[in-house]
């Protein structure tokens, strides 16, 4: 498949850009932060996004979705990355929709996918227990109890964990921390007895929470995929999530870079615009080249998810690794090239640096994914 967007995907990008520039610019995120908004995003805006087909971007039409595919989802994530739009898109429309569509049984799909598409239900994916993403280290237990399970343990860095209606949680039904076997994914109601959420205010002013599970009851019907077979489900869901985050960071990096080159053309020192200094020109040109590489890996990962889902893990890791590394570099250079004004809260560039720092950490940073690729390659 050619590494270019189809005409339909380009149109989606244009309409998304127009929508977000008008309704969710960076100032919207600033307002959510400054007002200490309890939800962390605008529910009316999410409703509008659902009506435009964004919430159900990965949901089939028979379930009320728009079914634009992973490339479509990536286009939307990238555009939301440009404007740093706060929304439940990643956790509900990418992570949960992928888990349900690719791994859930028919009754789970019929019950939940239409709600995702309609923007009526919010989801969260609870994986991490330590400060670095290490899914094999999951210790949370799901003990057999009668016909069902009892879930106990702590989760951290759960996007939308405090506002979700349903939580998809990875727990251990067998094996010990360090083993990939023995994991199982459960669908748990956020209101279930024993679930407690603590919202964590993050560097990027976006949603995250720590969750506590204390003997939470679940049944076999709440299992996504197979008991003890959660690693495969998690691999697929996290691949999609990492591709989505990579696309978001690509958008954020492009926007931060565009702001920076604009600034280089305006700011005057020593009697000339600073963009005429070769020391800055060459650094800007290098960033441009790196961003071009990011665009390629992101599109490849998204196309692989659409075309060959079961084998997309490695290109999704590639995309996440490269996008995270480059986006971090771009945000650092952006602040430096802006000089003093880049350090002020009033100016938007700092918001990009903060969001990129959080996004690259989520579900594995550069080292995690580069290590994964190296192991797959046998070294």
């Amino acid at each position: 498949m050619p590494l270019v967007l189809t005409e339909e995907q380009q149109l989606l990008r244009e309409s998304a850009r127009g929508f977000l520039d008008e309704k969710a610019p960076v100032s919207a995120l600033r307002k959510l932060r400054d007002s200490r908004d309890a939800v962390g995003f605008s529910r009316p805006l999410w409703k509008e996004m659902a009506e435009a087909g964004w919430a159900g971007v990965l949901v089939e039409e028979r379930h009320g979705g728009s079914d634009f595919g992973f490339v479509g989802a990536g286009v939307l994530a990238e555009e939301m990355g440009r404007t740093l739009t706060a929304s439940p898109f990643l956790s509900t429309s990418i992570l949960a929709a992928t888990a349900l569509r690719k791994f859930a049984n028919k009754s789970q799909q019929d019950a939940l996918l239409p709600k995702i598409a309609a923007g009526e239900a919010l989801f969260a994916l609870a994986v991490d227990e330590t400060s670095k993403h290490r899914p094999a280290q999951i210790a949370m237990r799901a003990e057999k109890s009668g016909n069902g399970f009892r879930l106990s343990g702590d989760k951290t860095f759960v996007a939308d964990g405090h506002v979700a209606d349903k939580i998809i949680v990875a727990a251990r039904t067998a094996g010990a921390p360090g083993e990939t076997g023995g994991l199982t994914l459960f669908l748990v109601d956020a209101t279930a007895k024993g679930v407690a959420a603590e919202r964590t205010e993050m560097v990027d002013s976006r949603n995250a929470a720590r969750l506590k599970f204390d003997r939470v009851e679940a049944t076999g019907e709440d299992v996504i995929g197979e008991v003890d077979g959660g690693a495969a489900v998690l691999d697929g869901v996290l691949a999609a999530g990492n591709a989505g985050l990579a696309a978001e960071m690509s958008g954020a990096a492009q926007a931060a870079f565009a702001m920076t080159t604009d600034y280089l053309k305006q700011r005057t020192q020593f009697g000339r615009v600073i963009g005429s200094f070769q020391a800055l020109q060459h650094r800007a040109a290098q960033l441009h080249v790196e961003i071009e590489l990011v665009k390629s890996v992101v599109l490849k990962a998204l196309q692989d998810l659409d075309g060959n889902f079961g084998f997309a893990g490695i290109t999704c890791s590639l995309a996440k690794a490269k996008a995270g590394e480059v986006a971090k570099l771009v945000s650092q250079e952006a602040v430096q090239m802006h000089g003093g004004i880049g350090m002020t809260d009033e100016y938007d560039i700092g918001f990009y640096m903060k969001r990129i720092r959080v996004a690259q950490e989520m579900f594995g940073d550069f080292a995690y994914h580069a290590d994964k690729i190296a192991r797959l390659r046998g070294y």
Partner: protein
């Protein structure tokens, strides 16, 4: 022709015509057939393969048939190359005529020039050299001084070129000369074709840090170049004093080629494999953790670069590409290739430092490592590429 039908045809033709000795996947200097009047074929098979490929037009598959090409579409050319790679068939012919002069003539040449010069390139009969840089015109190429005067029935050329690749083995040379010394520096340049057998042309090889001498100095001492090499075949390509347009177009091809070399010729995944062999594994991972990290980073970047080459080709095909893509590829490809060979030398340790002897095939890796240092200099330095990107793409202002 539908893709699969063409694939089948290409496969069948290669199966029938590519000699067995030419199917060893050989890539690199010692396997290349450069052609030319003085070319000594390394084997009868190499000669046979060139003749058969030329007969079919598949030394230059994408060129029009009337100029010795195969008349294939872009898609068909790609299929043919894929099939050759799959069957490990060596390229029948490589040359500066194919990479550089051919594309420039196809765009800027007259019909007579195309008919006269292109078929001998396609058949590997004439080997061309490139006369661009001068001792005082490197990155600032447009400041070149090689003089070309109009003497009525002929041009008179005086001056010196440097970094002329294989000029000592070439038959003809395409040269940038100054035809109007009074004009602004980009405006007085012409692109002229010179027979190197003409009196007054001489060459002197330059020994490089790798020990090889792929480049020469080339001198023009009162060289008379006929206005027409044959009736109606002008020695000048494009308009007189507009040679800079041709030069720039040709450089774009050169850059894409050097850039593609960074990712295209060698797979990065080899780096980890080689290091694992040399250094060994501990607990399933390379025993040198810092080198392992460097290799993994290079693998991420190399793969991203290969995908970028692919994406830019696809964008160009779809007509949505941006300009100056060749500078992006040239810059990154050159820098990446240097990095790759630094890692290969790190993995090899003291063994690969043996400059002579059979153990290292006379320092083959070390010589390649040294050769890559030129990647970011030739065809426009990395710094010049960054200048082009910042001016043409980012539209940052001049000083």
């Amino acid at each position: 022709m539908p893709e699969e039908a063409f694939r089948a045809e290409a496969r069948a033709w290669l199966e029938k015509n590519a000699p067995a000795e030419m199917r060893d996947g050989g890539i690199g200097e010692e396997f290349v057939c450069w052609g030319g009047k003085r070319w000594k074929f390394s084997s009868e098979a190499q000669k046979t393969w060139l003749m058969r490929a030329a007969e079919k037009g598949w030394t230059v598959p994408a060129w029009p048939k009337e100029y010795g090409g195969g008349g294939l579409s872009k898609e068909e050319t790609k299929i043919l190359k894929d099939e050759m790679k799959r069957m490990k068939v060596r390229s029948p012919l490589e040359s500066f005529g194919i990479w550089m002069l051919g594309p420039a003539l196809l765009k800027y040449g007259t019909e007579a020039q195309k008919k006269y010069f292109l078929p001998p390139i396609a058949r590997g009969e004439i080997r061309w050299a490139q006369g661009y840089s001068e001792p005082n015109a490197g990155s600032d190429l447009a400041s070149l001084q090689c003089k070309c005067e109009d003497k009525g029935d002929h041009w008179l050329v005086n001056g010196q070129k440097v970094w002329t690749s294989y000029a000592d083995k070439a038959d003809w040379i395409f040269v940038l000369v100054r035809t109007d010394p009074k004009a602004a520096k980009h405006d007085g340049i012409s692109f002229i074709l010179i027979d190197m057998a003409a009196p007054g042309v001489s060459t002197k090889p330059i020994r490089l840090i790798s020990g090889a001498s792929p480049f020469c100095e080339t001198f023009f001492d009162n060289v008379k170049v006929p206005k027409e090499h044959a009736p109606g075949v002008s020695a000048i390509v494009g308009e007189i004093n507009r040679g800079w347009d041709v030069a720039k177009y040709l450089l774009t091809h050169e850059r894409e080629m050097i850039g593609a070399g960074g990712g295209g010729l060698f797979a990065t995944r080899g780096l980890g494999e080689v290091a694992a062999q040399e250094i060994g594994l501990e607990g399933g991972v390379l025993a040198d953790p810092l080198l392992r990290a460097k290799i993994a980073q290079a693998e991420v970047d190399g793969w991203a670069f290969l995908l970028t080459i692919e994406r830019m080709k696809d964008e160009a095909k779809a007509g949505v590409g941006m300009g100056a893509a060749s500078s992006v590829l040239k810059y990154y490809g050159a820098e990446f290739n240097k990095r790759r060979f630094e890692i290969a030398m790190d993995s090899g340790g003291s063994k690969e430092l043996e400059w002579e002897g059979a153990r290292t095939n006379d320092g083959k890796l070390a010589k390649s490592w040294l050769r890559t240092k030129a990647n970011s200099i030739e065809g426009g330095t990395s710094e010049v590429q960054l200048n082009i990107i910042s001016k043409r793409i980012l539209e940052l202002p001049d000083a």
